[in-house]
Each structure stands twice: as structure tokens, then as C-alpha cells.
């Protein structure tokens, strides 16, 4: 993988703006995610965290503007599936799993891009089992559920399937996790955080979006904070803990949000 002594930016956004009618949901956000690190993006509800991910992953082509660079290559404006092939993979707060097909197939779909020739070849001579999918299932502790449909799993396990699907992408360079801990209880969240740390230790680069300060402060290497679409603070967990702007946003001194 990479050389950990020289952390370079896997993902860098510059002056990213998302405009909905008169509302600026994301306003001029420039930030970086370094290789092999777990970067946190926090902010109160409605701060524009999910919108930021949507914009970066190409789901808001009509509303977003700015620059998104993946390992130094400008990728802004590419379609979502193209970005996925390029290595920008994501999960969803609302999971959005493929409910009709097995957990294994959920992961397999993300494995490879399908060309016309590839599809035909596969039709006449079906592929073999993908070893990498087995690895990921094992990594996430899902190997016993490979043949099940996602609807048969617990909420925590379903979250992991979402992570696994994003990890399975053959070319994944960075994983954007949208509130993966939402809906989990305290102990599940702590356990989930450990899984994420495990992924980072394996060399993966992650961006974790959440409003659970506990989780983010515990597991992240670097944290950015959005409030009303603007980047108001960045720093290490220790710095963020003592940053008056962060405290204000979370304790409501600057006026609450909806």
C-alpha cells in the first residue's frame, strides 16, 4: 500500500459549493483526506454533511460546483458509477442495500466493472467465486451470512454489508461513510468503531461522517466540522475537544439548528 511516513491526500476538495435554489447547503468547503487515515466530518443536523458526500460522489450534478481531486486527478463532474470505478466509494445513511439478492452478490456487484464483452463471456462461462469477497466477508465477520438476503440480518450487520459493498469495489481508494453508526446503540457503536479502526490499520483510507461526537472523537485521526454548510473548524481530536467553535455548535451557543 502506501508509505505511512508521507501522508498524501487521497481526496481533496476545493471550493466545493452546493446550491439548492436560494439555499447554499455546502458553502466553499475545501478539505483533505490523507492516505491511511480515518478522517472525520462532523456537524449538527442539517450542516450539509450528507450533501457534501452526495456532491463528491457525483449525485448532485446540477447543483454542485468546485473541484474534487482523487489522488491528484480532477474527477469533478464524472458520473457516480464512473467515480466508483475510479475508487471513490461510499455508503448510505439509509443503507440502500440490494434487498433482493444475497449478501455475497451485494458485494460481488461492486467488484468489477462490466463490459459488453465481459458480460457475454460471463454469460457463457460464469465467473468463479471471488476470493476477495470472501476476505471482506471474513474481515467484517459476515462469512456465515453470505447466502442470506440483507433483510434477514440485524441492523448492525446490514450496516456492515453496506461497508463491505463499498470496500469490495476493486479499485477503492477512499471510503466515504455516511452516518454508519446511526440507529446503533452505544455498545454496537463502540464495536462498530473498532471495526472501522481495523480497516484503517489494514491501510484503508476512510472519511467518516457522523454527528455522534463520541464515536468520531474516539476513532478519527483528523476531524473537520461543518456548520450550516461551512467548514468552521479542523484539527486532531484533542484540538477539536477544546475548540470553542465546536463546543458552541454542539452546546448551542451559536443558536440551534432545526
Amino acid at each position: 500500500m502506501s508509505n505511512p511516513s508521507a501522508p498524501d491526500a487521497v481526496l481533496r476538495t476545493e471550493h466545493l459549493v452546493v446550491q439548492f435554489g436560494g439555499l447554499r447547503a455546502v458553502n466553499d468547503v475545501s478539505l483533505e483526506c490523507s492516505r491511511g487515515q480515518l478522517t472525520g466530518l462532523i456537524g449538527p443536523n442539517g450542516a450539509g454533511k450528507t450533501t457534501f458526500i452526495d456532491a463528491v460522489t457525483g449525485f448532485l450534478p446540477d447543483n454542485a460546483s468546485g473541484s474534487v481531486a482523487l489522488e491528484g486527478v480532477e474527477v469533478f463532474g464524472r458520473s457516480p458509477h464512473r467515480l466508483s470505478h475510479d475508487g471513490l466509494t461510499r455508503t448510505w445513511q439509509t443503507l440502500e442495500l440490494f434487498d433482493d439478492i444475497s449478501v455475497r452478490s451485494n458485494l460481488e456487484i461492486a467488484r468489477e466493472r462490466l463490459s459488453l464483452v465481459g458480460a457475454l463471456a460471463d454469460f457463457f462461462r460464469p465467473r468463479r467465486r471471488d476470493a476477495r469477497v470472501d476476505e471482506i466477508l471474513e474481515l467484517l465477520g459476515l462469512e456465515d451470512f453470505a447466502a442470506h438476503e440483507p433483510r434477514e440480518l440485524s441492523q448492525g450487520q446490514r450496516k456492515l454489508v453496506g461497508v463491505g459493498r463499498a470496500l469490495a469495489s476493486a479499485s477503492s481508494k477512499i471510503l466515504l461513510l455516511d452516518e454508519p453508526a446511526a440507529g446503533l446503540d452505544k455498545s454496537e457503536t463502540a464495536w462498530f468503531g473498532e471495526q472501522l479502526r481495523g480497516l484503517v490499520d489494514e491501510g484503508h483510507t476512510l472519511l467518516l461522517v457522523d454527528h455522534d461526537m463520541g464515536l468520531v472523537l474516539n476513532v478519527c485521526d483528523q476531524i473537520h466540522m461543518l456548520v450550516f454548510g461551512e467548514l468552521v473548524a479542523s484539527g486532531s481530536p484533542a484540538e477539536m475537544r477544546s475548540d470553542p467553535k465546536v463546543i458552541a455548535a454542539y452546546l448551542g451557543h451559536s443558536g440551534g439548528s432545526a
Binding site: T50, P80, F98, S105, L114
Partner: protein, 731 residues
């Protein structure tokens, strides 16, 4: 939640720029035309006055569609059929005073069928004592409409509240088939008329002489539009309905009874439909298909109004009517305009424009959750199963070659039906894209068989691929708008595409058409060996149809079934299911959603075209009526009934198919269901959509699994340990 779904984004006033431009262009064209009309009034005005009549009907139907959609998020393809049914009730009451009873199943039928006797004479009409006064007849007919609305809501669409769009579309197509079949069964398919309601003395208007009833009709539509606008804008009922459409859960929490509102709206929509029919019947006369064909234009008008604006929908409806007549005049006046039925394709053009300009989806309702789609079951390949398939093929072989001739003929219909149903399994079952144009593609292939095979005299080995390619090409072109649409909008656009293909190509004879009687296919022949339905064959009793063409069909059908089974297991098949499950997530997982949809439409068009070409070879001489829009709808009906998402379902669908082996067996051994096929199919289609969306195939599979588990459970006292996590699902 993505900010793209903020409530404000959906509202009428925040139209995207492109849509504003489109509306502005329409306004400019209208103004230009008005100026031209002032210069040469009668010539320009005549089509308008004629067109306003049709336009008023289109507009009125569009109003009803909007009412139903706003209340329950359903685009009701059966709306026109409701109008037709109520109109026939009215005509019958004023004409003879008979109230029609919808055909009911005769519980004694099996006994009568087997015994060959008739025990009771089932009533078809109830006499009401001679011709009825129009006002009274209208009351009775509109009450019928109200009851139909209540049934539609409480028995069909309320249970489907959280169902996938596919189930709703299918149910409303079922309503259309059912009511239209009921009308044909009770009244035949000939046109009927009624005594005028509006005064129809001709008047001179700007130098044109027209019946004044048109103006009355127009005025009624205008008043209706205004009334609906006021109702939905200012009354508590209307506001609550709008609130429910925005967010059902929230409005329920606020104490509104969304269900009651929807029920009232359905009654309102049905009564509107009935009223349109009754008012129009004296002016144009009525046929069983009239309102359903006009409904396609209405769907376009309602879509322009985003299924929510009464005023825009009504105005667009009127404009469609005028434009139609205006184009008719132009085609008539200027010889250089090719007579290729441009005006017939108008609804399609309007709908396509509305879709492309508007993009994305219809305003999706904030319904609580969608139920799951029918399972695309891929049976595990076991030795027992292979033996089963072999047995099935052997039986099919025997029936195809050795059974009596009527069974052989039924088998041929079934085999073609299986291929046609497979086309829907791929595009609708696997990818979730509703296509109502498959028979139009089949028709393209069919006329290509006649043109390449008979007119050009090409050998079959060239003709068949060329025919299939023609259908495939049309399918891919017609699929292009589908890349930006889905769900019910896609159903409408494919319906309109199918109608456009039918109107432009099928009505005419010659190379690019089917004509009414003219098309002929050559006898299938490869390497000097003939294998048509009349060709001699060594096996069988020698009567027509001989088994040889059936064997050809059997080989192709088996090939198609195996291909689709493999497709389901292939990577492409998995990506198709991913797109069906969740387009956004599929895109994020690297699936090229547009490419997957196009390939699905391509594969489906291939099967549809193959089915059409084979139909041509089977029939020998054929015409447009085998490939019309209503045949497309019934193909969807049978495919859904059989099981839309499995190969087994397609085989089941083929069995039930019009004059398929299942129907032949029923006719021969039990009762003659012939004239009731569409009626019964419509009924079961609704029932399947509401109560069992996996069709017959899924139903029997579950029964078999349950039986198997019970047998196994009895054999082994200790059941297998249940996999951990099962049952520990969320909620």
C-alpha cells in the same frame, strides 16, 4: 436525506428553467398560430373548433387522472375503461332500460360443462321497465361510477398503498382489461350512440359552421377545471389531500384521514370519467376502445401538468385536440408532408418532450415504505430439478408432435407466448422497468418477415435475423427516454411509443407496414427443408398444423428459457437486480445504470421481436390486429399473472396465453372459456397484483416449499439449526 428532496423543490412554481422554456415555446407557437388564424380565419379556425371537441374529452379525462393521482399516487390506466363502462350503462338504460350485470362466474359451470347441459340461464341484464329518462339514467350510471370508484379504492388501491409502482400499474391495467372485456361481453364491440344531451343545432362562429354542443362540452370542462382547482386549493378536504400527497405519515399524525380522502377522490375521479363518457356519447358515439385510446393523450396532458395541476392538464388536453386536427389539415393540404401518421404519433411526442424536459421522476409521494418486489428466484441446479426439466420438455415434445391437432396448435401459441413473456421477465422482472410496447416491437419484426421474406424473397436464415434486428432497433430507440424515467412514467412513455409505432407503421400496407389483411410470411425453410405449419412431417397424424413447426418453436423456446436462466445467474443479471432494487446505490457501487437498462431493453426487444417473427411464420397471413396496443397490455397481464420475475412464470404465462395449451385443455375438457379470456385475465391480474405479486409460479413454489418442509420435518424430528441472525432482523 439528500437536499434534492426538500419539499420546496417539488412544488409547482419552482419549475426548472428548461421546463419554463418549453412552456414559453408552446405559448409562442400558440400566439403565432392565433395571428395566422386572424389572417385567414375559417381555414385556421375550422380545425380548432373540431379539435376542441376531442380536446375537451382528452382534457376531462386528464382531470380525472390528476384527481386520482393526487389522492393516491396511482396513474390509473383503467380510467378510460371506467368512462367506457359507465357510458355503456347509460346508453343501455336510455336505449332499452336494461341495467347490465357484469359477467359473473356460474358456480354450476363445471357440472354443466362436464354434463353438457345447461342448468340455469344466468341473467345478463336487469330490465328497468323500458327506456329510462336521461336524467334518471345518468343518476343510475353515475352511481355505478361511484361504486366502481369505491371498489377501485377499497379493494384494489388501498391494499396496494405501499406496494411497488409495478403492482399499481399492473392493477390499473387489470381494471382496463376487465372493464373493457365486460363491455364487449355485454354489448359487443360495435359503436353505440345516445340521444343528444346538449343542444346541437349548428351555429356560425367566425365563419365556421359547427354544432354548438362542442361549446357546451368545452364550457363544462372549463367549469369542471375551475371547480376542481377551487376544491383542491381552498377547501379543507383539498388541502388535506395535498398534504397527504406531500407526506402521508405526517398528515396522518396531524389527524387527517388520508385513506378517507383517497376514497372520496377515487369516487370523484370515477364519476368524472363517467360524466365525460355520458356527455360525449351523443356527440361522437362510443366504442369499447374509444376512451382508452384517448386516455393516452390524456396521460400526456396530465404529465405536462405534473399530475398535479388541473389547469395545465386541461389546457394541454385541449391543445392536443386542436393540434391533432391542425396537423390533419396540414397533412391534407400540403402533399409534401409525408402521410406517415405524424399526428397519430403526437401523444408520444408530447409525452416524450414532457419526460425529457422534466427529467427524473414524477413527484414521488412520501409514502411510508415500499413493499418488496416479486422475488427473482433462481432455482438451485440439482439433479432432481434437471430430471424435472427434462420431463417437462418431454411432455412438451409429445404434445407438440403427437397430440391431437388442436392441442398442437395450442402448444405453438404457448411456445410463442413463453418467448414473449420472457421479454417482460427480463425488462420488467429483472430490471423493474415497465414496458407496455412489447407487441409493437413484435409487430415490427412481423412486418419485416413479410417484407424481407416474401417481398424481397430472402431465405429464412437471413429473414429471421433481419426481422429480429428490426424489432431490436425499434426497441432500443424507444428505450432511450427510459434512461431518464422509471416507474409509472415509463409505463406511460412505452404505451405511447407502442401506439406511435402502431399508428405510423401498422395501419399502412407495403414494405413498412402490416395493413389490415395483406401481410404474408413465406413458408419457413432452411436448406431446402420446409418446416411450416402445413409442411409434411413423418410423425403425428398428418393433420394441420403438423408437428414440425412446433418442434422448431420448442427448440427456440427452450433455448430462450435456458438463456434467461443463465442471464439471471450471470453478472449482468445480478447488476440488473441491483438496478431494480436501488438505482442510486447501484450507481454508487459502480453499476452503469443507463447501460444496464439499455441492455435489458435490448434483450427484451430481442425476445419480443423473435416472438413476433415466429407469430408471422405461424399465421402465414396476418394483419395489424395481432400486434396492437391491447395485445401488448394482455401480454403484460399474462406475464405478471404467471410470475413476472421468473422463467417458470414465463412458462406459466405461455400456458395461459390467448389460445395457449392451457386454454385449449380447459376448452376441450371443461368449459369453453374463449370469449371470457380477457375478462377472466383482467380479474386475476388485479387479484394477483393485490394479493400475490409473485404470480402463479411464486405461489406454487411457496406451496411446494411449505409441503417439502413439512414432509422433511416429519422425517427428522430435530430440525436443522436455524442460521444465527435470522429473525433478529431490524424492527
Amino acid at each position: 436525506m439528500a437536499a434534492g428532496k426538500l419539499p420546496g423543490e417539488r412544488r409547482l412554481r419552482n419549475r426548472p428553467l428548461a421546463e419554463q422554456i418549453a412552456l414559453a415555446v408552446l405559448a409562442v407557437v400558440g400566439a403565432a398560430w392565433a395571428v395566422a388564424a386572424l389572417i385567414d380565419t375559417p381555414v385556421f379556425f375550422q380545425p380548432v373548433l373540431f379539435g376542441l371537441g376531442t380536446g375537451a374529452i382528452v382534457a376531462a379525462l386528464a382531470l380525472g387522472l390528476v384527481v386520482a393521482y393526487r389522492a393516491s399516487g396511482v396513474i390509473n390506466f383503467g380510467h378510460g375503461a371506467i368512462a367506457t363502462y359507465v357510458t355503456y350503462v347509460y346508453v343501455s338504460l336510455t336505449d332499452t332500460g336494461d341495467y347490465p350485470i357484469p359477467p359473473l362466474p356460474n358456480p354450476l359451470a363445471p357440472i354443466e360443462g362436464i354434463g353438457g347441459i345447461e342448468l340455469v340461464d344466468f341473467p345478463t341484464m336487469v330490465g328497468m321497465g323500458g327506456p329510462m329518462h336521461p336524467a334518471l339514467a345518468m343518476t343510475v350510471a353515475l352511481s355505478t361510477a361511484a361504486v366502481l370508484g369505491l371498489i377501485a379504492h377499497y379493494a384494489i388501491f388501498r391494499p396496494l398503498r405501499y406496494a411497488p409502482v409495478l403492482a399499481k400499474v399492473v392493477a390499473s391495467v387489470g381494471i382496463m382489461l376487465f372493464l373493457q372485456a365486460a363491455v364487449v361481453l355485454r354489448f359487443g364491440s360495435r359503436a353505440k350512440s345516445a340521444d343528444p344531451i346538449f343542444p346541437n343545432d349548428p351555429v356560425d362562429f367566425l365563419g365556421v359552421r359547427v354544432g354548438q354542443d362542442r361549446f357546451w362540452l368545452l364550457g363544462t370542462v372549463a367549469v369542471g377545471t375551475l371547480a376542481l382547482w377551487l376544491l383542491f386549493r381552498y377547501t379543507r378536504f383539498g388541502i388535506a389531500t395535498r398534504a397527504s400527497a406531500e407526506n402521508e405519515r405526517f398528515s396522518t399524525l396531524l389527524g387527517f384521514n388520508a385513506d378517507f380522502q383517497a376514497g372520496v377522490s377515487w369516487v370523484l375521479a370515477s364519476v368524472l370519467a363517467g360524466l365525460v363518457g355520458i356527455l360525449v356519447a351523443p356527440i361522437t358515439g362510443v366504442t369499447p376502445n374509444l376512451f382508452t385510446v384517448l386516455l393516452i393523450s390524456s396521460l400526456g396532458a396530465a404529465l405536462l401538468g405534473r399530475m398535479s395541476s388541473f389547469v395545465i392538464a386541461a389546457a394541454a388536453g385541449l391543445m392536443l385536440g386542436v393540434l391533432d386536427q391542425e396537423l390533419f389539415r396540414l397533412e391534407f393540404e400540403f402533399a409534401w408532408i409525408p402521410d406517415i401518421g405524424i399526428r397519430r404519433a403526437l401523444p408520444f411526442v408530447v409525452i416524450a418532450l414532457a419526460m425529457v424536459v422534466r427529467g427524473e421522476t414524477l413527484p414521488s409521494r412520501g409514502a411510508v415504505q415500499a413493499e418488496r418486489l416479486p422475488e427473482a428466484y433462481a432455482p438451485p441446479i440439482t439433479r432432481g430439478r434437471m430430471v424435472g426439466y427434462g420431463l417437462l420438455a418431454a411432455i412438451a415434445f409429445w404434445v407438440t408432435v403427437f397430440a391431437p391437432f388442436q392441442f398442437r396448435s395450442g402448444m405453438q401459441n404457448t411456445l410463442i407466448g413463453v418467448i414473449l413473456a420472457l421479454s417482460l421477465v427480463v425488462v420488467t422482472g429483472y430490471v423493474g422497468q415497465i414496458s407496455l410496447m412489447q407487441m409493437a416491437l413484435a409487430g415490427v419484426a412481423a412486418f419485416a418477415v413479410g417484407s424481407f421474406g416474401t417481398s424481397a424473397g430472402l431465405p429464412m436464415l437471413l429473414t429471421l435475423p433481419l426481422a429480429v434486428l428490426s424489432g431490436l432497433g425499434f426497441g432500443l430507440i424507444a428505450a432511450l427516454p427510459s434512461l431518464r424515467t422509471r416507474g409509472a412514467s415509463l409505463a406511460i412513455i412505452t404505451l405511447a411509443s407502442g401506439l406511435a409505432i402502431e399508428e405510423i407503421f401498422f395501419q399502412r400496407s407495403g414494405w413498412f407496414g402490416l395493413g389490415r389483411t395483406t401481410k404474408e410470411a413465406p413458408t419457413p425453410e432452411i436448406a431446402g427443408i420446409e418446416f411450416g405449419t402445413t409442411s409434411e412431417f413423418v410423425w403425428g397424424d398428418g393433420k394441420i398444423p403438423t408437428g414440425v413447426f412446433g418442434l422448431f418453436l420448442l427448440a427456440l423456446a427452450i433455448g430462450c428459457c435456458v438463456s434467461v436462466m443463465r442471464l439471471r445467474r450471470s453478472r449482468l443479471g445480478e447488476q440488473m437486480l441491483a438496478v431494480r432494487a436501488n438505482e442510486r446505490a447501484a450507481a454508487a457501487a459502480g453499476v452503469n445504470v443507463a447501460a444496464i437498462k439499455l441492455s435489458a431493453f435490448g434483450i427484451a426487444s430481442f425476445f419480443a421481436a423473435l416472438g413476433g417473427a415466429l407469430t408471422a411464420y405461424k399465421l402465414g397471413t396476418y394483419a395489424q390486429d395481432s400486434f396492437g396496443i391491447f395485445v401488448s397490455l394482455s401480454v403484460l397481464a399474462f406475464a405478471y399473472l404467471g410470475g413476472i420475475s421468473t422463467v417458470g412464470g414465463a412458462i406459466m404465462a405461455g400456458t395461459l396465453f390467448a389460445e395457449g395449451i392451457g386454454i385449449v385443455v380447459t376448452n376441450e375438457w371443461f368449459i369453453d372459456v374463449g370469449p371470457y379470456t380477457a375478462y377472466v385475465a383482467g380479474f386475476f391480474l388485479i387479484a394477483t397484483a393485490v394479493y400475490n405479486n409473485e404470480g402463479i409460479d411464486g405461489f406454487q413454489r411457496r406451496q411446494l416449499v411449505a409441503l417439502w418442509n413439512r414432509l422433511r420435518g416429519r422425517r427428522r424430528s430435530a430440525p436443522d439449526k436455524p442460521p444465527a441472525g435470522v429473525g433478529a432482523s431490524n424492527e
